[in-house]
Every structure is written in structure tokens, then in C-alpha cells.
Amino acid sequence: MIGEAKVGNEDLNLCFEKLMMVAAGNSEGLKMNSVGITEWKDIPVELLLRIVSLLDDQTAIVASSVCSGWRDAICLGLTQLCLSWCRKNMNNLVLSLAPKFTRLQTLILRQENPQLEDNAVESISKFCHDLQDLDLSKSFKLSDRSLYALAHGCPNLKKLNISGCTSFSDEALAYLTNFCRKLKILNLCGCVKAATDHALQAIGRNCNMLQSLNLGWCDNVGDLGVMSLAYGCHDLRCLDLCGCVRITDDSVIALANECLHLRSLGLYYCRNITDRAMYSLAHSRVKNKGSMWESSMKGRYEDDGLKSLNISQCTALTPSAVQALCDTFPALHTCSGRHSLVMSGCLNLTSVHCACAVQAHRTFNTIFHTAH
């Protein structure tokens, strides 16, 4: 960012002729400015941007329309913007700001009430090519046009949140993944039409750097899709399949075998999951511990393995399988401080405990033995 500011110095100097902004080592400015240092004349672009970075987003936008010097500085330097505070004018605001703030890397457009329309997203795609993090959650009014525009305009996207955008189709999403191959974090929660096996296959093919995927409540997701995902995205760390009721053990087995860095898995309401899935997860950990030993020897002890698992309402599971899982992954906890193995609604799993809880449980058990 500082480099960019210096490159644009020539243009800025023209703009700042009255303000006489002095960048490092600009002797011309020095001569003119030897007497009478006033206000902003001497504040370099970097400093102005630092001050703007301390402002809230609304004020930063206001600041960009104060004078040409400020406008140029802010348009060159602003990389993060959040417009979620807009109650009714977000669409127009985006339309007017996208052409100005072309250096944006992070743009949060999560809406309380739907305002954003396709033309705004098209405008973003047209001007903000550096965009890496885009949050369009709850944009009910958007259609596939937006996804097509993003595909062409923002290929550097690493983080995309389109949760709640129920109008997107899987064709458009698949098209997007073909262009946005750097995606690392993708949130499709509630995108029922978009998150299908077809789209997941495309994701598995194209987005090999994917680390986090949220497919919550996408009930069109099936084994085929998740298996394609597992075979394609080996770096997957977080996967949320809450409410994906069609999922069976095959999906989990594929994930266990292919995604060795899996840290967080959500299977809430996946009623078809049985002990087979649990044992496969445990088994793959044991199997791969050999290769992980090397990395831990090198000092990169990443505390690999499942850290968080949600198997609430998976009533087909039995205590022995889940206990085996809990023993295999020391990061899974049932104790109150670090509760990461969530089993709500699984009444037969109350006896499953992590190692730290066992001690407390033993004491508990002796007193309330008859309760069990």
C-alpha cells in the first residue's frame, strides 16, 4: 500500500498543489513549505490513511468526499469496508462507491434487510478486482447474474459468504468455482438451490485450496457431492453438514480417508450416520499417525486431528464407537470448559466422556450410581 502511494505521487502532487503534501524526500515541496506549516499540508498520504483507518466506515466514506486530496488518498488506500450498518441505501451506496474504492480487498455487505441487487454486485466485479473477502450474506434479492459477474471480475476471491442467498443456482455456483480457484473459505449455509452434488463436484474439481466449507441446511447435498469434495479438497479443515439429511456413512468415510487435516465436522441431524463413520474417523487417525509423527518431530506439532465434532440427533450411534473416537482424538472434549464434542439429543451417549471428564465423572458416578 505504501508502495502504491509513492507511485501515485506524481498524480497526487498535481492534486495536492494547494495542499503541498510532502512525501519522503520530495525536495520541491520542501522549498515551498519552509515557512508556515499549516494543517494538512504536510501530512503524507500514509499518515492520512492511518487516521482514516481509525475511523468507522461511515466516516471514512464521508472523508472521501471532503476534498480531492483526501478522496485520492482514500481511494488509493482503502482496502477494507463494511456497509452492514446501511438500513435502506446499501445498493446505491455500493453503486457509487465501487468505482471509487478500487483497491478494496475486504468488503462486508451483510444485510439486516435485503437491499443489495445484481447491479451493485456487477459494479463491484467491474471495479474491485483485488477483492479477496466478500460477504454477501442474506442478500435475498441477488440472482445468478451476480455470481457470473463475480466469476469474471473477482478471480482473487479467497473468502466468500453467500449464506442465505436462496436464489442462486448450482450452475452459477459451479461456474464461479471455475474462475475463483483460490477460494479457501466458502459459506453456503442455507443455499439450498446452489449447494447440490453438481456444484460440489465442481468445487472438488476447481477449488483445491478450500479449507472451510459450510453446507448447513443444504438438504440437496448427498454422498456423491461430499465424496467428490473429499477427493478434490485435501486441505479441508472445517466442514459443516448440519441438516444435510441425505448424508450417509460413505461421506464421512471418504472425508476420513482423504481430508487428513480435518479439524471440525458438523453432522447435526444427519440421522443416517452410524458407528461405521465413527470408526472410520478413528481408524484413519491411527493409520496416519505414522506420517504425522514426522511432522511433529520437525517441531510442527499442529495438534492435528478432530478438535470439534457435532453429532447431535445422530441417534443411530452407540457409546462404544463414540467413546473410541473420543479416545483417539485428544482434542475432543466433553468437559464443561472445552466442550467440543456435541451430542445433544443422543440420549444413549451420555456415558461418553473425554479423558479430563472421566475423573470428575468417576466421583459423580459413585454418588449417583443408581441414576444410570
Binding site: 494543517e39 504536510d42 487516521i51 481509525l54 466514506i61 464521508v62 471532503v66 476534498c67 478522496r71 446505491n92
Partner: protein, 359 residues
């Protein structure tokens, strides 16, 4: 080292000075530990061996004038002492940055050129606090910046990439809105004066209110009503504004105002301030971005401006007269002016009925 040695050496070390030269040519000497608090000076001394004598004085960047240098040295002198508590430092900082904006800007700039990061952070935050919540016009006034953006650029609703006549129409509307915003800003400035006038009679107000609680809402209504009418005549704004007014009314209405003069003053100022801020923010962004059809119906014409001017004068006159008479006038005010209707709330307080956009 023996104590005697230390005693001998110490005073010499204390007396060690660094020579600094500011851009205007003046040279001064500064205690070493104070000056070395600045990374840039530190660098010059250590890397280049400068500053040891008058002839080899360190040339400071030209953004540092003698006045700023002395401020910075005060800062360094305080903070370089290791034994101070965080609380002490914080309270020093708070007092330190209390200066007018001009000097604050100079100080920020000077601190930045000397790479004195803690001071840059402190002053930057202070400047950010000044800028927050202000309109572009106000910011320009405070910092003496040129008003060199064109009408279109300021609002820049859409890039004129096509010659769509609709876009040109919108741009014209925005230019009109911009002018209107300026008018309102001026009126607001007048109104700010009036608010101050009003404060002097808060005791009167309170004694009157204590006698008759219901009317307090009427008073606030009239003030709010005036603001409200001067706002853009849009129903959404109305509802938002009324929500604010109602919100202000509820807690302020009966209990707080009766309590004490101070509370009354803050409450009164609070109503004004909140409305002001909301006005400005909403206006700025609504002005920029509102493309609703409601805008096209919005006839901000000279007639309305005159009306507003007349109201302002009326209000000023009324504020200067006695309260009971004032209340009478305000109450009858509502009946004279057709656009504005008063109706009674469930609890008997006055409520401004609808906005004046029913034209």
C-alpha cells in the same frame, strides 16, 4: 564500579546533550535521554554519529518547527522516565493532546517525521475523534481544506459511463439535493445559536414543566417538529425521526426533566444533538444515494426556503419571550400551519401528526 566512580561519572552522563537543528536554522541542545526517545534522532546519533556538537547538529525534518519540537520534547521527557505507571502516562497523554486542531495536525505531522510511533498513535486517534461524525463541510472548515470537488464528484452517484439520460437526470437531482443540504446546514447553524439562547432559560423551562408535565412534550415537539420539517420530506425519514423523537420523549418526558437543572440541560442538548447527528448522517447518505421516486416529487423550491426562514425567525422570537406565552403560541402554532398537525397520544401528550410532505 565503586560508588565514588559512579558519583563522578553520573553527573557527566546526565549532562550529555544532543544538538538539534530545526528547518528554520535555529539550533538547540536537548538532554540526551530525552532526545534519544525519538527513533529518528536515535538513528542519527548511533548510525551517523551526529548531534554531538553545535557544528554537527542533527537536522530535523522540515515538518518539525521549534514549537512542535518543544511539544515533542515535553512528551519525550515525560515518557522516557521508566518509573511511571500506566495510569500516569495515560492521564498525561489525555492532557497533552488538548490543543487546537491546527496544532494537533502539526504535531501529528512532526511526530510522524520523527517516527515517534506512540505520539503518532495518540495524535492520530485524537484527530480521528475530531473527524468522526462530521459532515464534509464541517471537516473542510476545521482543517481548512479546499472545496475542490465538483458537485458530481462529491456525490458521485453513478459513474457516467453511459450517456443514459436517466443518469443525467439523477445527477441533476443530486446537485439540487446538495444545494438543499447546504441550506439546511446554514439553518442548522442558525439553530445552533438559538439553542444556546434557549439554555439560559432552562430554569424557567423546568419550573414551568414542573408545574405542567404534559407540556414538556409539546416543547420538544415544536423543536423537533421544526427540525423535522426542514429535513428531507420523506416518509421513511419521518418514521425514523419520529422513532428518535418518541424514543427521546419517553425517558425524557416526565421523570428526568423534573429532576434537576443539569439533567434538564443535558436532556435538552441531547435531543438537539441526537437529532442533529441523525440529520447530518441521514442527509449525507440519503442525499447521495436515495433514488426513490419520492425524490422526484420532492419540490424543494424557494417558497419552502422562505417558509423555513420565516419559521426560524418566529421561533427565535418566541424563544425570547416568556414561557407561558410561548407555550400558548406553540400550541396555536400547530393549528395555524396547515401542513403540520398535532394529535394527542394515548397518554395525553402532543404528537406531531405527519410530516409536511402532504402537499
Amino acid at each position: 564500579m565503586s560508588e565514588v566512580d559512579m558519583a563522578v561519572i553520573k553527573p557527566e552522563m546526565m549532562k550529555s546533550y544532543i544538538w538539534l537543528q530545526t528547518a528554520d536554522g535555529s539550533i538547540q541542545q536537548v538532554e540526551q535521554e530525552v532526545a534519544m526517545f525519538c527513533p529518528m534522532i536515535c538513528h542519527e546519533v548511533i548510525q551517523k554519529g551526529m548531534g554531538s556538537s553545535k557544528n554537527y547538529a542533527i537536522s530535523l525534518p522540515q515538518r518539525v518547527n521549534p514549537a512542535m519540537l518543544s511539544l515533542i520534547l515535553d512528551y519525550c521527557r515525560f515518557h522516557q522516565v521508566p518509573g511511571r505507571s500506566n495510569k500516569e502516562r495515560k492521564s498525561f497523554d489525555e492532557k497533552f493532546i488538548r490543543m487546537d486542531t491546527k496544532r494537533l495536525c502539526e504535531l501529528t505531522s512532526a511526530a510522524d517525521s520523527l517516527q515517534l510511533k506512540p505520539l503518532v498513535d495518540l495524535t492520530s486517534r485524537a484527530l480521528a475523534r475530531i473527524i468522526e461524525g462530521k459532515s464534509p463541510e464541517e471537516i473542510r472548515e476545521i482543517f481548512h481544506l479546499p472545496d475542490d470537488l465538483t458537485e458530481e464528484e462529491k456525490l458521485e452517484p453513478l459513474k457516467n459511463t453511459t450517456d443514459d439520460p436517466r443518469i443525467r437526470l439523477l445527477n441533476r437531482l443530486y446537485a439540487k439535493k446538495r444545494k438543499e443540504l447546504k441550506e439546511r446546514q446554514k439553518l442548522k447553524n442558525i439553530e445552533v445559536e438559538e439553542e444556546r439562547v434557549d439554555d439560559r432559560s432552562v430554569d424557567d423551562l423546568l419550573s414551568f414543566i414542573n408545574g405542567d408535565n404534559g407540556d414538556s412534550k409539546g416543547i420538544k415537539n415544536s423543536k423537533s417538529k421544526k427540525k423535522n420539517r426542514r429535513r428531507k420530506d420523506q416518509q421513511k425519514n419521518t418514521s425514523a425521526n419520529e422513532a428518535i423523537k418518541n424514543h427521546n420523549k419517553e425517558p425524557n418526558g416526565l421523570n428526568q426533566v423534573c429532576c434537576s437543572a443539569e439533567v434538564g440541560q443535558t436532556v435538552w442538548a441531547g435531543v438537539g444533538a441526537t437529532s442533529n447527528l441523525h440529520d447530518v448522517e441521514d442527509d449525507i447518505f440519503d442525499n447521495k444515494n436515495e433514488l426513490d421516486d419520492g425524490d422526484i416529487d420532492d419540490e424543494i423550491d424557494p417558497a419552502l426556503k422562505e417558509k423555513i426562514d420565516r419559521e426560524v425567525e418566529d421561533f427565535a422570537r418566541r424563544l425570547n419571550s416568556d414561557w407561558p406565552e410561548r407555550m400558548q403560541e406553540i400550541l396555536s402554532f400547530g393549528h395555524e400551519r396547515k401542513p403540520v398537525h398535532f394529535s394527542l397520544n394515548g397518554n395525553g401528550s402532543l404528537r406531531r401528526y405527519a410530516n409536511s410532505e402532504q402537499r
